[in-house]
Symmetry: C2
Subunit: 374 residues, 2 copies
């Protein structure tokens, strides 16, 4: 972990040529947001806009706003309702109304203060307002260590999630682990699921470290969290640096997501959190690995990990197998009888298999609903 002494924070660089940017991870960084913006040469002549949601507004907005104002910035605020439904074109339009009324110009910055919902929405606002203004990510959930790296920003369409968006990189990511202390435990667990995924797809030592530090992570020990977020972001950053626009490699980030997305859809995006759904999906991928003859330790290891973090390993019994299958088929339009899946080949390693029989996936879904094996 590279420590920036001056900032007293870990510093990670996402390497993307002239779109490279730093991620700072540390305690109480939101109190220093103004200073950090000055250090990135953001002009105090142009107004800024913070986008946040109702929960985060109550908890962390005033700290962020005061810090920016103390540094000399004029700050407009746009608050959206907490929850996925704020990722819509109508909220995008409302954000842009606020930006226009506050007089944001081409040199202005949009600051996302919140979790993945706020980050994705604010990122698309920044990408599209005047065809692109500066963008600062201030993630306040653990899940956002995933969503704030990689430059995917988007809103939803009534017929499909994340379908309207852009690749748009932030200027910097300011990850203040103190903000995470107010997260509900269920959100903590769900966010950690993506951290586990980053270990499982790329880095066995990091996966082992997560397993060993499960309790400290769950109880939000800041220094432990900082290392976990750093290492998780580092995996994502490496994958994204090699494949910014999702040509091939980036697909490995979808471990557990094919089944996971289907479960979220069947639960109408209201029952399972994303991290919970992909936890079940990662168990499914490990079962698939076993059936396809990959290393024997993958399934028990994955299960141990998911359980250590109190995340679900089974599909709710009320979910219909055929509904799940058809959500999966719809999602990707698989051709005749075979599906594309991210399959582990060892702890810390995965491959993309394009030849997974639909029948085998159906069997595994059945088992995930509490069938005999596994």
């Amino acid at each position: 972990m590279h420590i920036n002494e001056q900032l007293q924070a870990a510093e990670l660089r996402v390497e993307l040529g002239d779109r490279s940017y730093p991620i700072w991870i540390g305690s109480k960084l939101v109190e220093r947001l103004g200073e950090l913006c000055l250090s990135k040469q953001l002009s105090t002549k142009s107004p800024m806009m913070i986008i946040t949601d109702t929960h985060v507004e109550a908890l962390h907005l005033s700290t962020a706003k005061q810090s920016l104002e103390a540094a000399g910035y004029r700050v407009a605020v746009h608050v959206v309702p907490a929850g996925e439904s704020s990722k819509s074109l109508s909220h995008l339009e409302a954000c842009i109304t606020t930006a226009l009324e506050a007089g944001l110009d081409r040199k202005s910055a949009v600051v996302a203060l919140g979790g993945g919902v706020v980050g994705d929405l604010a990122g698309f606002v920044a990408a599209s307002y005047m065809r692109g203004v500066r963008f600062i990510q201030v993630p306040t959930t653990i899940l956002a260590h995933d969503s704030s790296v990689g430059g995917k920003v988007a809103v939803n369409h009534p017929l499909a999630k994340n379908i309207i968006g852009a690749f748009y990189q932030p200027e910097m990511v300011v990850y203040d682990t103190s903000t995470l202390l107010t997260l509900p435990l269920r959100e903590v667990r769900a966010g950690l699921a993506e951290m586990l995924k980053h270990g499982l797809i790329w880095d066995q030592r990091f996966a082992d470290w997560c397993l060993e530090h499960a309790d400290e992570l769950l109880s939000l020990r800041e220094e432990v969290l900082q290392y976990g977020l750093y290492a998780g972001c580092a995996v994502k950053a490496q994958v994204v640096s090699k494949d910014e626009r999702e040509q091939d490699l980036r697909a490995i980030l979808n471990l557990g997501h094919t089944i996971g997305h289907a479960l979220e859809a069947v639960g109408q995006y209201g029952e399972l959190l994303h991290g919970e759904a992909i936890s079940i999906g990662m168990i499914g991928s490990a079962m698939l690995a076993e059936r396809l003859g990959e290393a024997a330790d993958i399934l028990p290891y994955t299960r141990r990990m998911i359980e250590a973090f109190g995340l679900p390993t089974q599909i709710p019994a009320s979910y219909d197998t055929e509904d799940i299958m058809s959500a999966m088929m719809h999602d990707k339009k698989f051709s005749e009888g075979e599906m594309v899946f991210v399959v582990p080949t060892a702890i810390g390693k995965v491959e993309i298999r394009r030849d997974v029989p639909v029948a085998l996936v159906r069997e595994i879904v059945d088992e995930l609903k509490g069938g005999a094996r596994g």
Copy 2:
């Protein structure tokens, strides 16, 4: 003019590194759209979507669609009402509904068949659907020789034009001069105004050529039109190649636009066409040049040009000077008493002046309303 023998069309390349693309200009190219898409390796496995408006639908859609289908493409069509109001987020959402229902995927292309309205809307659809799919411009207005080059795509917000968008380059531009034969004369004139602008800002010989060929251009002689569009696109392409993201040079494309935009706003975007408004604006800029001591031939030359094309040289008498001034000030938020203007310094040459006194601009606006001088 570079002629591609195989295509029997003029070919111009917009140089933008790995986003470079060709513009083909010729007669009856829409009949060969399918062939051209195949030549660009657009897969016939992925469905395409044509976006067009009600006027163009009636005139040119079937030719385009048949050509694509004959080449093996499945083609969905989305038709928006003709007119500026189709450049909105709600039409964007409707286009994306059509795309989803037709199963457009990451390898699909969006085809803009129409004028600048359709091009700007469809371009933003292409830029944002799945975070970016392929984009083909098939401009059917003369004005679109401007809008189809440069990669600016956008929709409007109730409070501001073109404020939500992206920089997104097309794969190719297929400019079929036969489609222009159905244009109403008023649209022809207005489109030619941007062509004149391209001469005035960059290329005296081209400006002279326009003046000499005014009648042939107005009567839509195809070979003459082809050369004019080629040369006009070439100016825009050169400027854009040097400054894709509008840092500095690109601002010269705004000759006549500061006053022009204000006139469009005061007329509530329903009275003057864009090309008409900027024609008056270009007269205004030439008057400014005269007052600021630039070459004496600029104003008479500009006036002769605008008149030769039957474009307006005066502000409608009913427009209030203060309304125009405040639309202008609002547009750019000029600081204490000085404004930024593109000012001609010779025929074919302009510079950006940041020191134009507001009082002088007010005088010129008054004169443009039919005052004594000019």
